[in-house]
């Protein structure tokens, strides 16, 4: 439970509060992670900084791409005519509409959960995020980083304020498979595959996995193998996966089962990305 909630009138004010209160404060977006039962922040020693009414709840389309405010809810993503289908599908991994009405894209990314609804897809889509901070002179500092970097270095970024998520307009194949016994049970595995296709060859491949009990992971070795056309069939994919990832044995299944899911899904999505083209 937070001990107080500060509602700022502007981003600058929000960041000033943050600078002042430091790690005693917490950004509050939809609250679905912060306020739920196992929130690590439930001891009442934190001051909430509301992210509402700061203009972060808009989706803007430009020629270059789509900019999504951090406070856009998962349901707004689904309802928007400009959001790519793969992002909508990932938002839909939150199986409850009521939850989607509350949960924000910023809160989801900043939670960086192992079973993150959006992160694998965002990595595969090569999304970028904007973070904002304030310096001692009160000047706002903007940073623009690839989402993969954010996830890889999450410890450094955790606690910094996300303002926007950017997705380039691109003719890119992005698809995510979520394996779960029910729509709302903890998933067995999340596998996302993104690539460009140039003259029948997959380039710029991004593969990200989640819900394997070991955090959101990019699989750069496999990405490279796909681009090098080293993975010609399912068997090779399965072998490659076994070498690079060791999922946890947990309530959703055995490590072996999850490796298998990752292997076959990469095979399938790679083939789908290639479409009718030669490998």
């Amino acid at each position: 439970m937070i001990s107080d909630l500060i509602i700022s009138k502007s981003l600058t004010e929000l960041l000033q509060h943050r600078a002042e209160l430091g790690s005693r404060s917490l950004f509050i977006a939809g609250g679905t992670e912060i306020n739920r039962l196992d929130s690590p922040h439930s001891d009442g020693s934190f001051i909430g900084l509301s992210m509402e009414n700061l203009g972060l709840d808009e989706i803007r389309e430009t020629e270059a791409g789509i900019t999504i405010g951090a406070m856009v809810t998962l349901q707004q993503l689904i309802d928007s005519p400009v959001i790519p289908d793969y992002i909508k599908a990932a938002a839909g991994f939150a199986g409850s509409r009521t939850l989607r009405n509350m949960a924000t894209i910023g809160g989801n990314i900043a939670s960086c959960r192992d079973d993150s609804y959006l992160l694998p897809t965002c990595i595969a889509a090569k999304a970028r995020i904007h973070t904002i901070d304030i310096d001692r002179k009160g000047e706002i500092l903007n940073e623009d980083i690839p989402i993969r970097e954010y996830v890889e270095n999450f410890e450094n970024f955790s606690g910094c304020c996300l303002s926007e998520i950017f997705i380039k307009k691109q003719d890119r194949f992005v698809k995510t498979r979520r394996y779960s016994r029910t729509a709302q049970r903890t998933p067995d595995a999340l596998i996302s595959f993104g690539s460009d296709l140039k003259e029948g060859v997959l380039t710029d491949v991004r593969i990200a996995v989640g819900s394997l009990g070991c955090g959101i992971k990019r699989l750069p070795i496999i990405e490279q193998s796909v681009m090098n056309r080293d993975l010609q069939n399912e068997e090779q994919c399965l072998m490659a996966v076994k070498k690079v990832i060791e999922p946890a044995d947990d309530i959703t299944g055995s490590s072996e089962y999850k490796q298998y899911l990752v292997g076959i899904t990469i095979t399938d999505l790679m083939n789908e990305a290639l479409g009718g083209h030669e490998r």
């Binding site: 937070i2 029910t182 299944g253």
Partner: protein
């Protein structure tokens, strides 16, 4: 802090900590329909409200976040006392059952219809996707939305909600609103939590971190000294009385193997100490101050471990028998450990607690060996089932307070009278000092047949004089509650080449966990509700129940039947595959039918001598022929996707209608001064519609409308005795008592009318609406009759009374068919079609009967495919919330889900009725297992049938 907002259109100022959940604030402000089912997990949706017009979970918002906002709660839907169109439609469609979060559902549907005038099924599913509903199986929500949508344009709109039955009757068999529907759907005071008074104390439990240990030291001093702590109860100061939690008929076929607190803890989550304090926060703080030291023992978790010759003994107490002690008892008790306490049997149950055997039952008809020697084919297969949680929306709750020298217990229970008896014994007081009031029950499904927290709550009140509330957390619901017994069942079948069975053997090994509540009856039901489905001269069964250190087990809808049916019906599927015959033909050849004499029941008497029973009605003919046509049984279905194979499966199922010779129900009914009626039923309505059944029966018999009959039920002071709502006894037993009480009153009405009209009784009859007519043309209204009898001169208030017991059995039957698509590459199973065809005799409330079938079937689809209580190596449950445990939601509904009522007319059931709900849980596992085999050629011999298991069976991993 103070915030300002609008609630249901009214400007309000709210006060509280900035971070307190809005649900808690709203509840405190009197918006009691905003409930919580999962300690703010954000899963169940019982706390759904609208903030600025959008549905959200009130538990996941803090007070500070709604400053300046508009809040709408389900209370807004009621206009004065008038229900909204949506609320009425929900009642009419039969989706208001246990209804703990029905108000939230009404709000979601209202919001949906404001957003989309004519929503599709997909949009309805989307709108309700954040709402967990355990009782109804969701299906009738589509009807509710359609009704509401049409009535918004045309208030008089009506459509067939459910088929109606019995043209010869006015009320029975007709779709009529549930009598408590309005109260439940509109979120009025109905549940135990709504009865709690300001200033009540809160009880919290310190639970064991070890699966098996002795408490060597327990120091409660710091906790007791904490300001605000009222009492601390441990094994040292609790009553030295042994009892069991099973709310079964006395003397119970379950051992008394536990005190309120024991020196030995037998599962992770076992009771160690209770703290009673002024606030829940103080109670929790006090718990953290209790210092406990344990001598940790090796735990056992499986039947195989329990059977091992050197297995640790879970119940190593001194064994006593009330009757039937063996001669060598003293010798037997030599190896007991006094720290284990006692195990007291009311009568012998074939137990050997020092070998971890809690109970056993063995029996046979014919000659099993010659049956197998006659067989052309013999198969023997073993099936295993896992521990399953009932997950009622309303977690277990008990609220007790003193009324002079009496303890009043507001209970969410299926068994008010067993509760009173067990609590009286635990407290060492007589039953007249206890008043149990069964409030509306927000889901029971068997788990509220056990006395899990009422004993300690009542004791806390009795010893402190303070009102005490104990409300289980969702985690406690998993670790301190009854669950389905895990079982290992071996089935051996012998048959002729043509599929005719020559021998059937079932070996049931059940895991009862730390205590023996229901340890005989649940496992026996695995046999008694499956073996009589097939007719075979040679049958044998062995049932053995073992203690272990898993979280407690007990009753869950269907008792042992879902497990027994899974094993037997899947084994029949395996036999048919072995013989190369069609499973449906094998079932047809061997199945029970009307007129069959069920010899095997002679050996299955649930702790007493059984009797063979004659099947007086059996709807399997209709269920199998209609079902096979609906699913196009003979047709092979193909998928466009080469990875997917499609298969079909079937299972036949049965249950009982209460326990003849054991169950007992009473009711009385009074004529009031204006000629209307007040019915008092002992029956415990769990949301299933039992009160509606009773009112329908009385109204039918007395020739009045249902509005003329009010009901009070399940109150130990104010209604007569009833054994309770379990073993599918509601309609058959409690309903019969209400019907007979009404008939008794009818006789008295005729007698009184004979005096008033100066006519002979034989010339009189009742006529609708509410009058007595004579053959000579004279008549008297009930109003006049009430005046005549209650105005100082007459014969006094007319009252009917009945006590119903019987030795006659009425068996409901059914056939469940399904079609699955199995993805051979991923192991995923999709339920394309699920048809549940059931014979419940005359369906008394057809729409509620359908709801029961949908609900039961869907629960069993849950345990077949998704749900999993998983323990780690130390016995700690890893799946203690609804998300990890994996309850199915509306998104998991089979694509085509249909419940079909197959009416029969049972001569023993009231108005020809039989039970309907429990049986619905028995079909999914075997039907789906058979369908998976049909699709991909592998047998699923352990539930849940997860994709991983499918892949393993297919050799993919």
């Amino acid at each position: 802090m103070k915030i300002a907002c609008k609630i249901n259109g009214v400007f309000k100022e709210l006060f509280g900590d900035a971070g307190i959940s809005l649900q808690k604030v709203l509840k405190k402000e009197g918006y009691i329909s905003v409930r919580d089912s999962d300690d703010a997990e954000g899963f169940a949706g019982s706390d759904t409200i609208l903030v600025n017009g959008i549905p959200v979970y009130a538990n996941l918002i803090t007070l500070a976040q709604v400053d300046g906002k508009e809040i709408v709660t389900p209370e807004s839907l009621l206009r004065g006392r008038r229900l909204s169109v949506v609320q009425q439609a929900m009642i009419d469609a039969g989706v208001v059952q246990s209804a703990y979060n029905a108000p939230a559902a009404a709000l979601l549907i209202t919001e949906l219809l404001e957003r989309i005038k004519d929503p599709t099924e997909v949009e309805i599913k989307d709108a309700l996707s954040g709402l967990f509903n355990r009782a109804t199986g969701y299906k009738q929500f589509f009807t509710a939305v359609k009704l509401a949508k049409e009535r918004m344009n045309d208030p008089g709109y009506t459509t067939e909600i459910a088929p109606e039955f019995r043209d010869d009757l006015r009320i029975v068999g007709k779709v009529k609103p549930k009598v408590d529907g309005a109260k439940l759907v509109s979120g009025q005071r109905a549940f135990v939590e709504d009865m709690v008074e300001q200033g009540s104390c809160h009880l919290k439990m310190l639970r064991s971190p070890h699966a098996h240990a002795y408490i060597t030291q327990i120091d409660t001093q710091d906790a007791e000294e904490l300001p605000g702590v009222v009492s601390v109860i441990t094994y040292k100061n609790c009553p030295d009385v042994y009892y069991g939690s099973a709310g079964q008929g006395f003397p119970e076929p379950s051992p008394y193997d536990s005190r309120m607190f024991n020196q030995k803890v037998r599962h992770v989550g076992d009771r160690v100490a209770a703290v009673v304090a002024e606030t829940p926060e103080i109670a929790l703080e006090a718990i953290s101050l209790i210092k406990v030291e344990y001598e940790v023992l090796k735990p056992i978790f499986t039947v195989d471990q329990a059977m091992a010759h050197d297995a640790p003994v879970v119940q190593n107490g001194v064994v006593e028998y009330v009757v039937g002690a063996p001669d060598n008892l003293n010798e037997y008790n030599q190896s007991s450990d006094s720290r284990d306490g006692k195990v007291i049997y009311q009568f012998p149950l074939h137990a050997d607690s020092h070998k971890n055997i809690a109970a056993g039952a063995h029996g046979a008809i014919g000659d099993i060996d010659s049956g197998f020697s006659e067989a052309d084919t013999i198969i023997e297969r073993t099936y295993e089932t896992s521990q399953i949680q009932c997950t009622p929306l309303e977690t277990h709750i008990s609220y007790a307070k003193m009324d002079n020298d009496r303890v009043v217990i507001h209970a969410s229970t299926q068994v008010p009278w067993h509760l009173r008896r067990i609590v009286a014994a635990a407290l060492g007081i007589s039953e007249n000092k206890i008043h149990v009031i069964k409030e509306r029950v927000g889901g029971g499904y068997g788990s509220k047949q056990d006395i899990l927290l009422e004993d300690v709550t009542a004791y806390a009140t009795f010893t402190t004089g303070r009102p005490v509330l104990y409300h289980y957390s969702r985690e406690e619901e998993f670790i301190g509650n009854s669950t389905r017994h895990p079982m290992k069942i071996t089935v051996k079948l012998g048959s002729k080449r043509d599929g005719k069975l020559t021998a059937v053997y079932m070996d049931v090994r059940a895991n009862t966990g730390p205590f023996g509540n229901h340890c005989l009856t649940v496992p026996m039901n695995a046999c008694s509700k499956s073996l009589p489905l097939v007719l075979c001269d040679n049958m044998k069964f062995d049932v053995t129940t073992y203690y272990s250190n898993i979280p407690p087990t007990g009753a869950y809808q269907g008792y042992g039947a879902p497990k027994g049916s899974y094993a037997l019906m899947t084994a029949l599927g395996e036999l048919s595959a072995e013989l190369g015959l069609d499973l449906l033909d094998i079932l047809e050849m061997n199945r029970v039918r009307e007129g069959s004499l069920l010899e095997i029941l002679r050996c299955l008497g649930e702790g007493r001598e059984g009797t063979p029973a004659l099947v007086k009605s059996c709807g399997l003919d209709g269920a199998l022929s209609i079902g096979s046509e609906m699913i196009d049984w003979k047709k092979d279905e193909l998928s466009d996707d080469p990875n997917i194979s499609v298969g079909k499966g079937v299972a036949i199922i049965q249950q009982g209608s209460g326990l003849p010779g054991l169950d007992h129900s009473c009711a009385d009914i009074k004529m009031l001064a204006d000629g209307t009626f007040m019915l008092h039923s002992g029956g415990a309505d769990l949301g299933t519609g039992l009160d509606t059944v009773s009112v329908k029966f009385a109204a039918e018999v007395l020739c009045v409308d249902m509005e003329q009959v009010s009901i009070l039920s399940g109150d130990t002071d104010n209604t007569p005795f009833d054994t309770g709502a379990y073993a599918s006894s509601g309609t058959f037993f409690s309903g019969s008592a209400s019907k007979l009480a009404a008939e008794d009153l009818k006789a008295k009405i005729l007698e009184a009318a004979a005096v008033s009209l100066e006519e002979k009784v034989e010339y009189l009859s009742l006529q609708t609406p509410g009058k007595v007519v004579s053959q000579s043309g004279k008549e008297i209204t009930y109003w006049q009759l009430a005046q005549d009898t209650q105005a100082g001169l007459g014969m006094g208030q007319l009252m009917g009374y009945a006590s119903f017991t019987t030795e006659d059995a009425a068996f409901p039957y059914g056939a469940h068919f399904c079609q699955v698509s199995v993805n051979k590459r991923t192991g995923e199973i999709k339920l394309d079609k699920y048809y549940a065809l059931q014979d419940c005799g005359t369906p008394i409330n057809p729409e509620l009967a359908l709801g029961q079938i949908y609900g039961g079937s869907f629960k069993s689809i849950g345990h077949t495919l998704y749900e999993d209580m998983i323990l780690d190596d130390n016995g700690t449950c890893l799946t203690t919330d609804l998300k990890d445990y994996g309850v199915p939601m509306i998104s998991e509904l089979p694509e085509d889900f249909q419940a079909i009522l197959i009416p029969t007319d049972d001569p023993y059931g009231p108005f020809g009725s039989k039970s309907v709900s429990e049986i619905s849980c028995n079909g999914a596992a075997p039907a789906i297992a058979n369908a998976i085999y049909d699709a991909v050629g592998v047998w699923m011999r352990t539930w849940p049938f997860t994709p991983e298991k499918v892949l393993k069976a297919l050799g993919k991993i």
